[in-house]
């Protein structure tokens, strides 16, 4: 039922030009969309953190935005925004936004009471407390969310292409499928998986760099050197 991996590889190589040509637009949409959703997740999560009522109002909306079956709304978005980069960026952003948002909001809430109290006593305003304590506290949560998100980014772009595009890995897959070339479908799938793995690796790397304290004082078995239980 499935073509042999060797065949997939061979065909991927033979069709490398076409694959490359179709990978580029997907990468572009992925990165642009992800960048947007990253910014949106930070801005919105911060907003929601500052304005609790907004949170109560916004969260259901955000959840609903996630519940919209992509299969049903992707075509709509494509119809509204045309076949350019825009609808793909939007869809990628829509797909990747929520995990980061949820993770950030949960992460803010995990801030140690003692630390925020101390900052307040130092005269730090809400914004400073956010910046100095809540954001760093949310970092491990954020990275968990980021890793989830980033695996969806490429898939989101491909999905968007399925809904309507001129070029891209999604279109390539669709055409290969319709023309009965499961080997080429899998070749494109492999490319998309490789892309995602690369992005995921990047995320892990960034986490290492962004949280150097996580490995400090951890010369011991089991667990991280977090100040204390939480």
């Amino acid at each position: 039922m499935l073509p042999a991996p060797s065949r997939v590889l061979l065909q991927a190589w033979e069709n490398r030009a076409a694959l490359a040509e179709n990978t580029l637009p997907t990468i572009r949409a992925t990165l642009a969309g992800f960048a947007c959703s990253l910014v949106a997740a930070f801005v919105l999560s911060a907003l929601v953190d500052f304005l609790a009522p907004l949170r109560r109002a916004l969260f259901p909306l955000l959840i609903v935005s996630q519940t919209l079956p992509l299969v049903a709304i992707a075509p709509l978005i494509v119809l509204w925004f045309g076949f350019g980069l825009m609808p793909k960026i939007l869809l990628v952003a829509l797909v990747t936004f929520f995990p980061m948002m949820v993770a950030l909001v949960e992460g803010y809430a995990a801030t140690s009471k003692e630390i925020s109290q101390m900052l307040a006593a130092m005269g730090a305003g809400r914004w400073r407390i956010f910046w100095l304590a809540r954001l760093p506290s949310a970092l491990p949560y954020f990275f968990a969310g980021l890793r989830i998100s980033i695996t969806y980014a490429v898939v989101g772009a491909i999905f968007a292409e399925y809904a309507g595009a001129a070029k891209g890995l999604g279109i390539y897959m669709l055409n290969a499928k319709n023309n009965f070339r499961p080997d080429l479908v899998l070749a494109a799938v492999a490319v998309s998986a490789a892309l995602t793995l690369a992005l995921f690796g990047l995320a892990v790397l960034i986490q290492r760099l962004a949280m150097p304290w996580e490995n400090a004082g951890s010369e011991s078995r089991g667990g991280k050197p977090s100040g204390e239980s939480r």
């Binding site: 075509p75 494509v78 119809l79 309507g164 001129a166 499928k177 023309n179 009965f180």
Partner: protein, 309 residues
């Protein structure tokens, strides 16, 4: 016990499928000793389902040529329509489109198959154009995209989307393929696989014959057949007027049964003509993506032997 037979659809339920539902709900399949399960339409193409033996039969179209050339085990066994029902459409207010050559440079909302581009290029070039246009793959969204102006033109099944547009008062114009150098064809066929047909010749005959009875009945009693189709697809078919108007066109236009009374039989000449056309266009590729060098034997792409008398 009745033998189980499955049949996969090529699109959401529409009047092209009328014979299947009539045969099922009128008990023609029962009488033939079959228990037929009509599989719903989904992302997985009917051709794929049949070639992989997930479904025994499936509704297919031109795709059968490209897929079989690429090695898919597919064989047409029944012609749902006797002539081309497809049409190239665009909105009537596009006054700048006077003939196909004006389509050069415009955007086509397509379904993701290789033959679409060939077909449209042929039409444009036949009219003196270059045959170059943008393709955006949209699938089932193509018609919304056309309505909302996202694409300039698409292909339709005129007995379905065309009828709907007319009923809704959406003004459209179109070009018929045959007027621009594309051979006439059975736009919609029922296909099975060699593997299934060889292993189940009796059931295949029983199925194809009972299906023909279904289409026959629909042609003879379009009102009752239409109601029946609606009744068994309450959730999906919410507009009875569309069903009946579409059926009327299929019957009166002699699509389901030709003027000569032919129903279901596949016309060898049409298959050969379409196959040759596609072969010459160079879009019949083998399993490795190489253009077929030898003209295949299109006689093997179909059979009428299960139609009985």
């Amino acid at each position: 016990a009745a033998q189980k037979v499955t049949v996969a659809l090529d699109w959401t339920v529409n009047t092209n499928h009328i014979g299947l539902f009539v045969a099922r709900d009128k008990g023609f399949y029962d009488e033939a000793g079959l228990d037929v399960d009509i599989l719903p339409y989904g992302d997985t193409g009917a051709g794929t389902l049949v070639a992989n033996r997930i479904a025994d039969f499936g509704i297919a179209g031109v795709g059968l040529f490209t897929q079989r050339a690429a090695g898919a085990d597919l064989k047409a066994v029944y012609a749902v329509v006797q002539q081309e029902t497809g049409r190239l459409v665009f909105n009537a207010d596009r006054s700048e489109i006077k003939s196909p050559k004006d389509l050069d440079g415009l955007t086509y909302g397509g379904f993701g198959s290789a033959w679409e581009n060939t077909l449209i290029s042929t039409i444009i070039r036949h009219d003196g154009g270059k045959g170059s246009f943008e393709t955006v793959t949209l699938g089932t969204s193509a018609y919304e995209a056309l309505a909302n102006g996202s694409v300039d033109f698409t292909l339709e099944v005129s007995t379905w989307e065309g009828v709907d547009a007319e009923l809704k008062g959406i003004r459209q114009r179109g070009f018929r393929y045959a007027d621009y150098g594309v051979p006439d064809e059975h736009t919609t066929v029922i296909a099975s696989s060699d593997a299934y047909l060889q292993a189940n010749p009796k059931a295949a005959s029983a199925f194809v014959e009972a299906t023909r009875r279904g289409y026959q009945f629909a042609v003879d009693h379009p009102q009752e057949a239409g109601d029946l189709l609606i009744a068994s697809n309450k959730d999906a078919l919410t507009d009875p007027a569309l069903i009946h108007a579409s059926l009327k066109m299929l019957v009166d236009g002699h699509f389901l049964r030709s003027q000569d009374g032919v129903i279901g039989t596949i016309d060898k000449a049409k298959v050969e003509a379409m196959g040759t056309y596609l072969f010459n266009a160079g879009i019949l590729l083998d399993g490795d993506g190489k253009v077929l060098k030898e003209r295949p034997d299109f006689g093997a792409y179909f059979t009428n032997e299960f139609l009985g008398a």
